[in-house]
């Protein structure tokens, strides 16, 4: 399996607090990798390293290397990085704009002006996000008028519009009802044909259902987050190698 992102000896500190301890992992290309683990174990912190969202937090220090296609993202232009590595958040956050303008925002911010090309991008992105059929006659409607599940798919379309290579998802379905959740999971299956997906979820069943690979993070004695085990989802959920992993997924944890 080819690697898209290689994380090497990653350590992260919030001031004096050691939040991520020596993480080494290879995120496979065009697969869905789920990150699971108890609250406070560093899952979201780790996810935010991958598009340097942690740069926005004061007093954060990072050691180690994170290579995307062998290019260290710490040496990259951060705007260029965030075009290549998009993110979808837990609570859908469409802009207070029309559906059309939500999706067109990214390409326009990157300098695109041709309205015909922008229209094509908007349609393609909404189709890839499985939202086009529901909104194609209402593109001038405000994004805020959509249902929760639709808003989340709009945010996915927005991320897709700048043609990323990686999509990060931070608990993308935890604010959604079960049916909307399953739709997002099924959308992820079609997206992975073209994108590498990394999803943080506190819902283990979702990780089991929807991902190809699973990374289990746990809090060490010093409260730093450790990557305990990484492997194929079907192996992790049928015969994990580490006892910590087995205890967590069988609910015997803590």
């Amino acid at each position: 399996m080819a690697t898209k992102i290689q994380v090497v000896d990653l350590n992260l500190y919030y001031g004096e607090f050691h939040a991520l301890n020596n993480v080494n992992v290879e995120v496979p290309l065009r697969q869905i990798t789920a990150i699971i683990g108890p609250s406070g174990c560093g899952k979201s912190t780790f996810l935010r390293v991958l598009n340097r969202m942690n740069d926005l937090i004061p007093n954060v220090r990072t050691d180690g290397k994170v290579l995307i296609d062998e290019q260290n993202l710490f040496d990259m232009d951060v705007v260029e990085l965030r075009k290549r590595v998009g993110m979808v958040f837990q609570r859908p956050n469409p802009f207070p704009k029309t559906i059309y303008d939500n999706v067109a925002f990214g390409p326009r911010a990157h300098g695109l002006r041709d309205p015909k090309i922008i229209s094509e991008i908007v349609e393609r992105s909404l189709r890839d996000a499985a939202l086009w059929d529901e909104v194609k006659d209402d593109l001038n409607k405000s994004g805020l008028e959509l249902s929760g599940g639709q808003q989340q798919r709009l945010c996915i379309a927005r991320a897709l519009a700048v043609e990323p290579e990686v999509i990060l998802m931070d608990e993308p379905a935890s604010a959604l009802d079960p049916i909307a959740t399953l739709r997002i999971e099924e959308l992820m299956q079609s997206l992975k044909e073209n994108y590498t997906i990394v999803i943080v979820t506190h819902n283990m069943q979702q990780a089991a259902r929807a991902s190809d690979y699973t990374a289990f993070f746990n809090m060490g004695d010093d409260r730093a987050g450790n990557l305990v085990e990484f492997g194929l989802t079907k192996d992790i959920f049928t015969h994990p190698k580490q006892k910590q992993t087995e205890d967590y997924i069988t609910g015997r944890f803590g």
């Binding site: 399953l182 999971e185 299956q189 259902r209 049928t238």
Partner: protein
Amino acid sequence: MGREIFDKKLAELNQNLRSLETMVGKMMVDSVGYLLKRNLEASHRIYNNDLFVNQMHVQIEENCIILIATQQPIAADLRYLSSMIDVNNQLERIGDYAKGIARINNLIGNEQLLPPFQYLPRMADLTVSMLHRSVTAFLENDMETSKAIPPDDDLVDDMFNQVFQEIFPLVQQDPQAFKCANYLLWVAHNLERTADRVTNICERTIYNLTGQLHVFDLDDELSEQHWKKIVALPPQTEETFK
């Protein structure tokens, strides 16, 4: 909108089960065919087939477990997968019975077959037809077919009894025939056991659809009489136990 991921993986499993059924059905027909044609060489093919059957059997069970672990099936989905594990086991045993027949072919060697061997191809054809229909019914959730197949087990039992009865005078006339008669009974026994296992497959289909594990008690008259007596008994009270 359904569980597309789950349904897709389930469809693959169904196909694998079908392939396994086709394989063991063919092994059964072939093993009896080679026996009657005295083709000892070809019997070895059955041993190779059995290695492949064992591999498929393991793979199907592993995939059922993975599907249960990763897709959290409940209700009908869970019943179906638990039944698939059982049907998978039944098919593997049927493969073993076919291999047993191939082995007996080699054990008989150059000896001549006794006349009752003639019943075996008919038994094999009927049994394999039952097998194919039962797995089709399982995969298609067909209750009516699953209920209709077990009576054919009676026909297989009748043929077995026929073989059993015809052997005695032969052995009495010629005690040397005992060895071959014994082998003949083993083959007939393997076919009769195959038909029994097909009945189990039919039970699993009914379980999938109703949640009830229904036991077919068709060829055990004694059991049925005993059961009627039990049902007719007055309810037990503390007095009765004293």
